[in-house]
Symmetry: C2
Subunit: 160 residues, 2 copies
DNA sequence: GACAGGACTGTTACGTTGTAACATCCGTCC
DNA sequence: GGACGGATGTTACAACGTAACAGTCCTGTC
């Protein structure tokens, strides 16, 4: 697969379709794997997908609570844990926040470009960068499992 | 500068000298820059340098409090913020923990290999990886400022 | 139908990480 | 001496995350 940026956070796009796509993909993957994408989990996934900005767990909780009175921190964290385990969302470590995954189904650690101005965060899937990471670890005789790559700065629009 | 790993966390080394080196470098840099490496800040730097494992802020606080009764969370966070601003320590985002910087003076975002088994964390300075990060950002017309690279897995010793 | 087991969710309480805001101290410069 | 700026003291709280146990609901088995 060629290097690409599958989400153009700043490009005007039909975000409704963007969410619907993500939900449909998620439903398909979970069915295939025999795991349960329950209404609660789907709702959380939908909330995370409402923007291309990483969302804090408590922000998700506030949103969820509007339709789900009994929501508490564990409610949200369990759903987020499930979604991460299935590769449907990523955690942005430098923000303690969560973002919908644009490559659901292909297990991978994400690589992220985080705009410090507008907050929009783009997931990139760059094989050359992946190779460089593997090589760097290899030179240190290190066996990588999870790779966190989070580049913050200014996006194309904000950096003009 | 060639790619290298400046700290061999697993190699037996004279860690006392390792700390002393770091403190001497820090004193020199701060003097040069006209900023104050106060006794409190130096103590915190020393504590962070006591191991090659990232240390949580509250862990630093516990240690600091042994010799400094009035230490409170803000005491530690202020010192850590100062040390980060001067490039003397790094924050490991995926662990919410702090680690002495092995390239103090050369402003850089670190690249880290974090062993999930023994906890030892090695900072690497790999120009090829740096180039790959810049290139990946460039292809997305993104202007990078801070680059977080944290690879966790098994170190050479634990992965055998 | 009973019931055992497992997956999911509800609920309470608490642990960890980080910060706001204001007070105090202390050296420097005029 | 008095204003100031930087550093630290102090209290309180905000934000992020989890342990532990209880209840619900479905399913497979007898």
């Amino acid at each position: 697969m060629a290097a690409r940026a599958a989400v153009h956070a700043h490009t005007s796009h039909n975000h409704r379709a963007c969410i619907d796509d993500a939900l449909a993909t998620a439903r398909g993957l979970c069915a295939e794997r025999g795991v349960q994408l329950t209404p609660l989990r789907e709702k959380v996934l939908q909330i995370v997908w409402r923007s291309h900005k990483p969302m804090g767990a408590y922000e998700v909780l506030d949103e969820l609570a509007r339709s789900h009175k009994s929501a508490r921190p564990p409610t949200v964290y369990r759903a987020l844990d499930f979604l991460m385990a299935e590769g449907l969302i990523h955690k942005i470590e430098s923000l303690n926040a969560y973002l919908g995954c644009i490559e659901a189904g292909a297990p991978h650690s994400g690589q992220f470009l985080i705009c410090r101005q507008c907050g929009a965060t783009e997931e990139i899937v760059d094989p050359r960068l992946e190779t460089a990471l593997e090589a760097a670890a290899g030179r240190a005789h290190f066996r990588p499992e999870r790779k966190v790559v989070e580049i913050s700065g200014l996006c194309a629009r904000c950096g003009k």
